[in-house]
Symmetry: C2
Subunit: 334 residues, 2 copies
């Protein structure tokens, strides 16, 4: 596990009692490992949902300070016992597939809305002083009307997932305003890195690309001209740790990544860093055109100014580390 210089994000975690919901998933597990390295006492709850990001290997090698519980927050009886006594709750319990949210909207509702209310109700009753950080998504903005996108951009989701993620961030902010909970919402851009789901594109298209490169198969670039500001997962973990400061309670922040590149430039960078691979550019599939949001990159100055955060990993470095990880563990993830 890499170490980083001490800063605002790394102070004061030793010995703190932290819950990470969705902690076996991609971003969640990277967060858990960092918290573990910082000396926190971490309780992980994960439902290990099929099609989700959870992977048993993601927490391999964690210390004995990390406890793992398999449970589903959609069951309202689960959360109270988990949040009781926690100083910080990181809420990364989510269904992330846009396509799945349209084919099974009720499943998306139960994970991205009902379970979120269960968790917040439990915090309200059993952990009213905990800091709570919720991972929202740029998806709430839908098709950007101007770039870069700041937090005042209208909310206009293009899929069921976007509406539910917006409801869930709304719950978090309302539980601050109405019940005084110290909640903070981060709207993340596309995130990539070790421990992401690469078997398919349910979590992010970058996962499917990585798998293609390492399997020696050409991957598909849909469209190719779309701009994206990819965030390396370690930078997102930094952002999550900073957002747990109760000084940011009741606020919503964009979190972006490295300077925007087109998907085609991203694909070229991936091949260059990998030293191999191939892709083909295809039209954005007609069946998914309604959920294509075109260009996106975040204006995340509000978060940078509030917390001092800035992304550290360049795209080359982030992709190199990601490839290194999946080269070593390919057979477990692919």
């Amino acid at each position: 596990m890499e170490t980083r210089p001490a800063d605002a994000a790394t102070r004061n975690w030793a010995g703190r009692s932290v819950l990470v919901a969705g902690g076996m998933g991609f971003i969640g597990s990277n967060l858990v490992r960092r918290l573990d390295a910082l000396g926190a006492q971490v309780l992980v709850v994960d439902a290990l949902l099929p099609g989700g990001g959870a992977h048993p290997r993601n927490l391999e090698g964690a210390s004995s300070r990390v406890r793992i519980m398999e449970a589903d927050l959609r069951d309202a009886s689960v959360a109270p016992g988990l949040v009781d006594g926690r100083a910080v709750v990181f809420n990364l319990f989510a269904q992330t597939s846009h396509v799945a949210s349209i084919t099974d909207p009720l499943e998306d509702l139960s994970i991205n809305a009902q379970a979120q209310l269960n968790l917040l109700e439990a915090c309200r009753r059993h952990a009213p002083r905990a800091s709570i950080v919720y991972t929202g998504t740029r998806q709430v903005y839908g098709v950007p009307r101007a770039l870069p996108v700041d937090e005042s951009h209208p909310v206009d989701p293009v899929d069921v997932n976007g509406f539910h993620k917006f409801a869930a961030e709304g719950y978090h902010l309302l539980y601050h305003r109405v019940h005084g909970l110290a909640t903070c919402v981060l709207r993340l851009t596309n995130t990539y890195g070790p421990r992401m789901r690469i078997r398919d594109a349910r979590q992010t298209f970058v996962g499917a690309w990585i798998r293609g490169v390492l399997a020696g198969e050409a991957f598909e670039v849909w469209g190719g001209a779309q701009l994206r500001d990819l965030a390396y997962v370690d930078d997102v973990v930094d952002a999550l740790l900073r957002a747990a400061d109760p000084a940011h309670a009741g606020r919503v922040f964009n979190v972006g990544g490295s300077p925007p590149v087109t998907l085609r430039e991203l694909a070229d960078t991936l091949l260059r860093v990998a030293g191999r691979g191939a892709y083909r550019v295809v039209d954005y599939p007609a069946s998914r055109r309604t959920i294509d949001i075109g260009h996106y990159h975040a204006d995340d100055r509000r978060f940078r100014e509030a917390t001092g955060w800035a992304p550290r990993a360049g795209l080359d470095e982030g992709l190199a580390r990601t490839l290194d990880y999946f080269r070593e563990h390919f057979e477990h993830y692919a």
Copy 2:
């Protein structure tokens, strides 16, 4: 039942098969009675939820063309049999209390989100050619940033109800874009009229005022300076009938009411029309201040231009008719 001159809203309903979900409630029952008068074959489904707007008296005297079924759309097995064969579906199934949405957010979720998906999934499979009209709410805008409020105003709800109502209108619009259903969303302003809930303010504060006037009790005006554009229910029914034209599929429209008045002016008008009564102005309760949205009135030009609709009832006339109705039926509603 009053009759109106033939126009775009009243043509072609004779013999049409129509489902009204929430058809025993306030707006729903007024819609059902109008459809009945126009000769439609109407199936009403209502869950008769405690605390909701449904009242058995609301459909008293309807013709044999109106069939009533008590069932709850939260049960996914209910909707398929109801929508099958319908030409038009009016979806007014809702929980309307802002306060209740905060005290029991999971109940609000099940009614205002889960049941909505059940209904739309049923339409997609069993009534893919039906016109579907959903009654949304001005509540999705939250605190207006400028007046009047048009449909491009940012969505920023102040309560759980607003997030769920926004999700539900989102579902309706997505089912148009993704599945081709002929859905239309109306964002209604405060609506009043015969058959509203007057026992308390769960549906609208105007109901509680009417009850106070007729019971000879002073009612409370919270704040008093807030502007509102009240819509008389017959005008809202007109709007719903017009919105069922598939030419408006995939669109969202504000529907406003009479020219804006302050709550204090509204209270004075009510006393004048009633020829009796009293009120006292009190501070907006601190416990509810987080859901106070201040002034609101709609810019509904988009809907007027698309459909030719305009409200017909002035405030005096609407209040007089409302008082007449509840004078006659007071003991059943109060």
